[in-house]
């Protein structure tokens, strides 16, 4: 496991957003393409939030864990 770089607030925001995306993909959207697309992104985002390591943060050097003190 690499070093975590997602702070608490960041994690909660991501989890909320991805939960919303998954919910919308599963229940709100009838169009299958849109539903799957949104759902997959939501799942991916949720996993990132769960492990608290964001590859894009690693690339760009952003670290919300350090800034907000975890």
């Amino acid at each position: 496991m690499r070093k975590k770089n997602i702070g608490r607030l960041d994690q909660f925001l991501r989890m909320g957003i991805s939960a919303g995306m998954i919910y919308a993909g599963a229940f709100l959207i009838e169009d299958p393409f849109s539903a799957w697309f949104l759902g997959a992104l939501g799942v991916g985002n949720f996993i990132v939030a769960l492990v608290r390591y964001c590859p894009l943060y690693a690339v760009t050097g952003i670290d919300t864990l350090q800034e907000r003190g975890g």
């Binding site: 009838e30 169009d31 393409f33 697309f37 760009t60 952003i62």
Partner: protein, 645 residues
């Protein structure tokens, strides 16, 4: 971070705007296309219904028949009206709006075949089909909302795509912002480093040193501490630079920086102020610590430098200023460390603590430096002449020309004080020319009065660098109609050794010219006798430090004797400087010294007094010369101080 936030906001905002505009346009285009398709479908259906009605029913429309047609052809939620002549039958999913027949006639009368209207409080699109005569017709209307299944899918996809694109845009913005701000940060850091550090050694520069000094001073305001500021420069750096090249000098400076760095503690800061000048800030250091550090630096710098295979020895002069003893702001401390450095240089020590007692000196020094250039043209310089006596003939053989600066406010300034300044400032050439010019003019005047003598003019080491000097001297001699033999140029021994090859070349040219040459202050430098032999000079002047004590100090006496023998063996005359009493004079005569000069004979005299003196003593045997008492009175006073006569 501010910049990246701005970037983030800007990119997200632009994406949002673009998304909204494009989404709206896309949605509008798609719904327009759907609308058109739907309207055509409706018109088509109305045509079908009319055709079927006309084919089957010849009579007026009845409700059940129309309801059957509506069921068969009408889209969900639609309204169907069929008429023939005056008879109208209306069927709808839901209630039939009142007054529809009348509106139908109006619409039919207008001749339009499709359009929109409000029915039962909702937007409807309608199509109409009628026989050419208009006697029979069909009107079909359906609500616009919710009837196109494609539109709903379109909306969802647009929305989802929009959200995803926005999400991506935020990410792109984040990445871009982070990259750009990081790049910018690096650039800024590099620029800051460049602005605060010296490019050659990588050490902090003056700005950073002043900043650190300010920080230390701030800290010192909160709790009482002491710290020290050391300022140093290399003693012969200019010479090294000139002779071995700047590249070599640069390498040497780097090595010097490394050595100083190695000899200080970790929280001391070393800075290069420019040229060969370095400064060290020692926080939490008192007098003892500062002296210790100076000793350590000196020791490190004394080791031989090895640069590009060449071995170089150099020496630094270190000036030390202490806080709070010597000043409580950065500028003062720096200035006082600078003064201390010059004090170290003058006294020949490796380092010196700032001495407040000698500070007026430095202020004076700066002032003199500022006013020196103007002094020559302002006529503040004047020449004094100190007679020289030939011991064999007892006649006046000549006089040494000494330059004095009569400062309008500071009075007479000694040459020992302003000549080094002139050398430092590069003002020595014009000064030398002025001295030569004035002395030769004076000599010409004396010669007209019948006073035959040799005037001896001192040349600075810097003058030896001026390759045009022999030609200048020649033209001056020519202009003033003075035979070359009446002029003697004195060069100090240390100036000769400073740059021996050039000196030999210069001396050779002067010699060819016929000008006499003398080595001044002999015994104080470190002459190589081998070189001395190859130099073409006529006179050797023994430094007064040996002559002064030769009657009391046997060592000095031996030196004087040795020099006299040496000079005679080399085939030149000897002049003893600084003769102050008759015992010394007698002793020198015993030792076969050729000429003497000193206060016992005469102090340096202003031109008029000198003229008188020469006339009085001119061709007379001059044993104890002084009956006017001036010389005897002068004994024991500071010989560096000029005097008015």
């Amino acid at each position: 971070m501010r910049l990246s936030t701005q970037l983030l906001g800007a990119i997200t905002g632009i994406t949002l705007l673009a998304l909204l505009v494009f989404g709206a346009v896309a949605y509008w285009i798609m719904t327009e296309a759907g609308e058109k398709r739907r309207a055509e479908l409706l018109a088509h259906l109305a045509g079908d219904i009319l055709a079927e009605f006309l084919a089957r029913d010849a009579a007026a429309p009845d409700s059940s028949r129309v309801a059957a047609l509506h069921r068969k052809h009408g889209p969900p939620g639609s309204l169907l009206a069929v008429w023939r002549g005056e008879a109208v039958a209306v069927v709808a999913d839901g209630p039939v709006p009142p007054g529809l027949s009348r509106r139908l006639r109006v619409l039919a009368g207008e001749g339009r075949r499709r359009g929109r209207l409000r029915l039962r409080g909702a937007d409807h699109r309608w199509a109409m089909a009628a026989t050419p005569s208009g006697e029979a017709g069909v009107f079909l209307a359906e609500p616009r909302r919710g009837t196109d299944p494609d539109a709903a899918t379109l909306r969802t996809r647009l929305l989802v795509t929009g959200v995803v694109i926005l999400w991506l845009a935020v990410w792109v913005a984040l990445i871009l912002a982070a990259l750009i701000s990081r790049r910018l940060e690096e650039k800024n850091e590099a620029l800051r480093h460049q602005a605060l550090h010296d490019g050659l050694t990588g050490l902090p520069n003056r700005t950073l040193l002043l900043d650190r000094l300010a920080q230390v001073l701030l800290a010192a305001r909160r709790r009482p501490v002491s710290f020290a500021l050391l300022l140093m420069d290399l003693d012969r750096f200019k010479e090294i630079n000139d002779t071995l090249g700047h590249h070599f000098g640069d390498l040497l400076l780097r090595e010097v920086g490394r050595r100083i760095q190695a000899s200080i503690r970790e929280n001391d800061s070393l800075a290069r102020l420019g040229g060969d000048e370095f400064a060290v800030l020692l926080p939490d250091t008192g007098r003892e610590g500062a002296l210790l550090c100076a000793t350590r630096i000196t020791r490190h710098l004394q080791r031989r430098f090895s640069v590009e295979g060449l071995h170089i020895e150099t020496r630094a002069s270190i000036g030390i200023a202490l806080y709070p003893e010597h000043g409580d702001d950065g500028v003062t401390l720096l200035q006082r460390a600078d003064v201390a450095m010059y004090q170290a240089k003058r006294s020949g020590n490796d380092f010196a603590l700032y001495d407040p007692g000698r500070d007026s000196h430095s202020v004076r020094r700066l002032r003199l430096m500022g006013e020196l250039r103007e002094a020559v043209s302002a006529g503040q310089m004047l020449l004094h002449y100190q007679p020289m006596l030939d011991l064999r003939s007892g006649a006046v053989s000549g006089a040494e020309v000494l330059v004095r600066w009569r400062h309008p406010e500071l009075g007479l300034v000694a040459p020992g004080e302003f000549i080094p300044l002139a050398e430092q400032m590069g003002a020595i050439h014009p000064l030398t020319l002025w001295v030569l010019e004035t002395a030769l003019a004076r000599l010409r005047a004396w010669r007209r009065e019948g006073i035959e003598m040799v005037l001896s003019v001192n040349l600075s080491a810097h003058c030896l660098q001026d390759a045009s000097l022999p030609a200048t001297v020649e033209s001056l001699l020519h202009r003033h109609e003075i035979p070359p033999g009446a002029l003697q140029l004195e060069i100090t021994e240390s100036a000769l050794m400073h740059d021996l090859d050039r000196a030999r070349d210069m001396l050779g040219r002067f010699h060819t010219l016929g000008v006499h040459l003398a080595i001044d202050d002999f015994g104080t430098g470190f002459s190589s006798l081998a070189y001395l032999r190859r130099l073409s000079f006529d006179e050797l002047k023994i430094d007064k430090s040996f002559v002064r004590d030769m009657c009391s100090d046997p060592n000095d006496a031996s030196i004087v004797r040795a020099v006299i023998d040496l000079a005679h063996n080399l085939g030149c005359r000897v002049v003893a400087e600084g003769v102050e009493d008759d015992r010394t004079l007698a002793r020198l005569r015993e030792l076969d010294c050729d000429r003497v000069q000193g206060f016992y004979l005469s102090p340096p005299l202003a031109a008029d007094d000198a003229g008188r003196w020469f006339r009085d003593h001119g061709h007379r045997a001059a044993d104890p010369p002084d009956d006017d008492g001036g010389a005897r009175r002068d004994r024991g006073t500071d010989r560096d101080q000029p005097r008015r006569s």
